[in-house]
């Protein structure tokens, strides 16, 4: 009976769950990074960005997205103020702070980012990997070393 009611109300099929779970697990597979590594990478990114602008650490979103067979990291980092936090020796060239924390860094895909640190000053952070190429090398080089988890 419950089954019948569930069907009547059009509960989504389990294939949707399968799709979502696969999407997530493959992202981690492709990154070959443990979840805690991703967290620590997020923290480091934010630390670097915070040297230039003040960001809202609680509302940072970092997502991974498949673009063809490459993986892109998209970060959405709300900026509270463009004031640089005072740092030793640097002259504060502060502009007047906006009345409300409106500015949001919207990150666009850009290929071949060598160093996320260097790129943080601009408003774009993308980590993209040509995984095919890497795995090719892996198979050519024989048994692959275990990923550092």
């Amino acid at each position: 009976m419950i089954d019948f009611l569930k069907r009547l109300f059009g509960q989504p099929g389990s294939s949707a769950t399968a799709k979502e779970r696969l999407r997530l697990v493959l992202m981690t597979d492709h990154l070959e990074l443990a979840p805690e590594m991703i967290e620590s990478m997020k923290r480091d990114l934010v630390d670097v960005i915070s040297r230039y602008v003040e960001v809202d650490r609680d509302r940072i979103e970092v997502n991974f997205e498949q673009q063809d067979r490459a993986l892109a990291m998209l970060a959405n980092i709300p900026i509270l103020s463009v004031n640089r936090p005072p740092s030793n020796g640097t002259k504060d060239r502060a502009e007047p702070a906006p009345a409300e924390p409106a500015a949001v860094v919207v990150v666009a895909a850009a290929p071949n980012v060598a160093s996320p640190g260097a790129q943080a000053a601009t408003e774009s952070i993308v980590v993209r990997r040509r995984r095919r190429k890497r795995k090719n090398q892996a198979i050519a080089a024989g048994p692959k070393p275990a990923p550092a988890h």
């Binding site: 109300f9 059009g10 099929g13 399968a18 493959l26 795995k135 090719n136 198979i139």
Partner: protein, 292 residues
């Protein structure tokens, strides 16, 4: 280029004994295609047997190589288990010639099987000798289909060693899709992997209870050769050792023939299973409303 072991494994009367079924010596090298998946039990062996049968029925000469050393199965799926006298390792280790080891198929005159060793292990295969063997087969056959063992260890590496192309078999399950994704990453672009989706149940897909062809390929993004439905017929024909591809009139047999045509480069549409709905299915769908 050829390994001396393999050269000596080819007898002088080579052209005589194989002359009727194998093509002329001057023919271009055949295509070596590895059938792989990562995960076990998704239908690699069934796909190899049926695709080989369909290609041979089209008139091509085909050698099937069972690279699953230690878990020999292709012979029994083809119904040839009683005819196997020598196996892959006998040839690689010079105890038998290629002609002695190749088993002629019962049904298709241009189809031959090189069985795996049953009582040996995958890591006993010498990768270089395997490469040379596949090359020797390519000189004689239009197609060399290699049935790859499950896993991504040495057995996989040996199976892909001599191949130039890959067909990956995937079922619409999370585990199979993940493993195919991994295997495709390992293969790289050199093998131009193409996808066969196996054991699809159209009705479950319609009900939203199984990943659809589009769901699977939104993730894998591979050229699709075709989709094979999960049909009781396949179990029955495997029980009998008569590949379903022998019956072109059966929907699944026809699907294997369409896949073979696509492999051969013909511009035919990728076969898709059709939904066969019973009255109760339709009734259920009616009440299921949005879900159907």
């Amino acid at each position: 280029m050829l390994d001396p072991v393999i050269l000596s494994a080819q007898p002088e009367q080579n052209t005589k004994s194989m002359g009727e079924s194998a093509p002329e010596r001057a023919k271009p090298l055949g295509r070596a295609i590895v059938v792989t998946s990562g995960k076990g039990g998704v239908g690699k062996t069934t796909t190899t047997a049926n695709l080989g049968t369909a290609l041979a029925q089209r008139g091509a000469s085909v050698a099937l190589v069972d690279a699953d050393v230690g878990l020999r199965n292709l012979d029994i799926v083809l119904g040839l288990e009683s005819r196997v006298k020598h196996h892959l390792l006998d040839v690689l280790e010079d105890r038998a010639t290629l002609d002695e080891a190749l088993v002629a198929d019962k049904h298709s005159e241009k189809l031959f099987l090189l069985a795996a060793a049953q009582s040996r292990e995958k890591d006993e295969v010498d990768t270089e000798k395997m490469k040379a063997l596949i090359l020797a087969l390519r000189e004689r056959f239009d197609y060399v289909l290699i049935d790859c063992p499950a896993g991504i260890e040495l057995g996989f590496k040996n199976a892909v060693a001599g191949a130039e192309e890959a067909i990956v078999v995937c079922t619409p399950e999370v585990s199979a899709v993940r493993d195919v994704d991994r295997v495709v990453g390992l293969l790289g672009n050199r093998f131009r992997p193409q996808l066969v989706i196996n054991r699809l149940r159209p009705l479950l897909v319609k009900k939203g209870k199984m990943l659809s062809v589009d769901d699977v390929n939104a993730i894998l993004r591979l050229p699709l050769l075709g989709v094979i439905a999960d049909e009781p017929e396949i179990i029955v024909t495997t029980n009998k050792g008569e590949p379903l591809a022998l019956r072109k009139d059966a929907p699944t047999g026809a699907a294997y023939h369409a896949i073979a045509a696509r492999v051969a480069g013909e511009d035919v549409p990728a076969p898709m299973p059709v939904t066969k709905e019973s009255f109760f299915d339709k009734l259920g769908a009616l009440f299921g409303g949005k879900k159907a």
